[in-house]
Amino acid sequence: MEAARAEAIGFGLEASSSDESERRLVEAAQRGDQRAFAQLVALHDRRVLRIALRLLRSPDDARDAYQDAFLKVYRKLDTFRFQCRLNTWIYRIATNVCLDHLRRRKARPEFGALETAEAQGRSPLQLAADARPSSSPERVARSGEISDRVELAMERLSDRERLVFTLRHYEGMRLREIGEATSMSEQAARQSLFRATRKLRKELHDVRS
């Protein structure tokens, strides 16, 4: 029964990118249309998962954060009144969920998944992608050398610095968008970015591509 309902939700649907069609999808989802919600998820979940992987550095934690974030989106969707762009609203929820996960994780003594990933010298993104047939062992090993150093350097950053750097450098979001998505001013986001790059430069002074 559950499987049939999940199938009906249709999470593999192609998504339209225009603002107007997205607005219609939001309105339909607010009326309880689960297919519309599935299409909204398909529009934004790839980036949410990437952000979660980069911040949490554990596929299992990223999967949990993904689910927590989109369930919150689903439950709160009827309160969304288009005061901001939908993606900004989703990323705000997702980044808050990730930061909560990081806070909870710090309270835990063990750091299982992350330690496993680092011990293998592969980033969580690479671990998550290992199941793909195109991921050759040589490619994983080559990129893993630099990636491992960057992962360790990123570990030295504060949660907020890592969040801002990830959104700006890896996700290509504008500082203004980052400010909106993380509930900070654009200036504060800019300062976090500068601090993050200064620390990374210090840690990685001998690494060049």
């Binding site: 939700i9 998820v41 990223a62």
Partner: protein, 321 residues
Amino acid sequence: MSAPDGPPPLESNLLRRRIQLYLYGELGFAERSEIDCWLEQDPEFRELFLDERAFLESLSASALGPEPEPLLDSCREALGRAVAEVPAPCRRRSLLARASAARSRVAAWMAARPLAWQAVGATAMLAIGFLAGRAFSPRAFLHSLSAPAAAADRTLTGIEAVRLDPVSDRVRIVIEERRAISGVSSDPTIRGMLLDTVQGAHAGARLTSLDALRVQASDRDVREAMLQIMLGDDDVGVRLKAFEAVEDYASQPDVREALVQTLHRDRDPGMRVHAIQLLREHPGRDVAGPLQELVERESDPLVLQETLRILDALGASMERY
């Protein structure tokens, strides 16, 4: 960074920040131009720029990797199952329903209580009404009302007047409305509007309407409208268009009568030439008299020559007796 057109002597970290913002596309046009200028003219700044770019590229290169597709698929499946177990997000509506049910319960309770208790009940009902009003979002309701209709073909272009009847408290608003209607010219509504338009003020609309009506020139009312245009429109282009629309019916008495009138009344030589040539293609004794009359007063040599030819072909005299 000592070149005359180079950057001011800033700390290396501050320059790196500027370069970083430049590389991330966060600078405005003027600031970008300034960096471009320093790059061209200051080798020391260029070296710093290249170093910063190489550093950021090294971070990007290290992050390059395939998309986590298998993980994404499993996340979507899990989310699909989780969403199916969560009730639909209709929290506000259910609050309203709950408030309404509570109000009914309080009303039933009040009916069975003494008067003093009923005052307490009334206060409770007011509170429930207040909370229900807050829970129900009128914005969402208004928004659904304002959603555009699927086949909307009209726009409001202005409000001409607003009148308030103070007795009934009713408002009358006179609105100027712009509508777009489409369909085939044989559609009764379209046909009627085209017949109105051929007598309208806009010459371009008259021309297009005549074109659209041309296929219906066999209809008496349509042809009558066209002949009126042919004889009376101020614009010679529109008169010519009406002429072309009826030329296939040159053997019809109403059209022949209009052609003769054109020869006598139209000031445009081109129209008169067209009329006489059409009559020459469709000669008949019925036009002999008017043509004899035309010979006496026609000044255009081509029209006169054609008229004489027709009279000759008809075996009619060149003069009226």
